[in-house]
Point group: C2
Amino acid sequence: MTIEELRIRIDELDRQLVELLNERARAAQMIGRMKAATSLPVYEPDRERIVYANVRAANKGPLPDIELTHIYERIIDVMRALQRNELASQRQAQSAAQEGGAPGHAAGEDAPETGKKS
Amino acid sequence: MTIEELRIRIDELDRQLVELLNERARAAQMIGRMKAATSLPVYEPDRERIVYANVRAANKGPLPDIELTHIYERIIDVMRALQRNELASQRQAQSAAQEGGAPGHAAGEDAPETGKKS
């Protein structure tokens, strides 16, 4: 394989990674909505420990666990931010509804903080 | 879907992500070896720009481009470190061979800096 062919393969892998990351983000958003309904906190250290353990268990290399963990710290940071936005827009919508505010800007799928090209 | 079901799905997505990240790492390592042979630098800003553009073009959300870029900055950092290690162990092997050193510790697939459970 030439460098050029390997790069074509990397670009293909990146497109698959982007799709999986977005699918993971969608699941995290859904959990965020459920947390809003049940008053669960966004930050759940026990759950995060399970995520890291699962990632290390699935790791067959060549990435060392420590480097994979570095990547996952960033992934989890981003997902947590997404969930916080989801929660915030849910609560905004709830308080607007309670105050009988104008429903002109519905929260949820199209919240500007979380939605992209939605 | 319950939170529990969504988490099972996330764990499954994470295992797929780990596999793709390792496949990407293997390709980066192979490129590292080729760079050692051709004296190309590890850091190639033009190539990195292409990677980011590809990632943004593939992004259909809900992750905003900026958050996806945050994750990719970490991925690229890790891959660059892996390539540097690959290059270093290649060069070590080359100079050991030139000096007629003991071939007891061959560089490559099993280099301790890069290999994991190899």
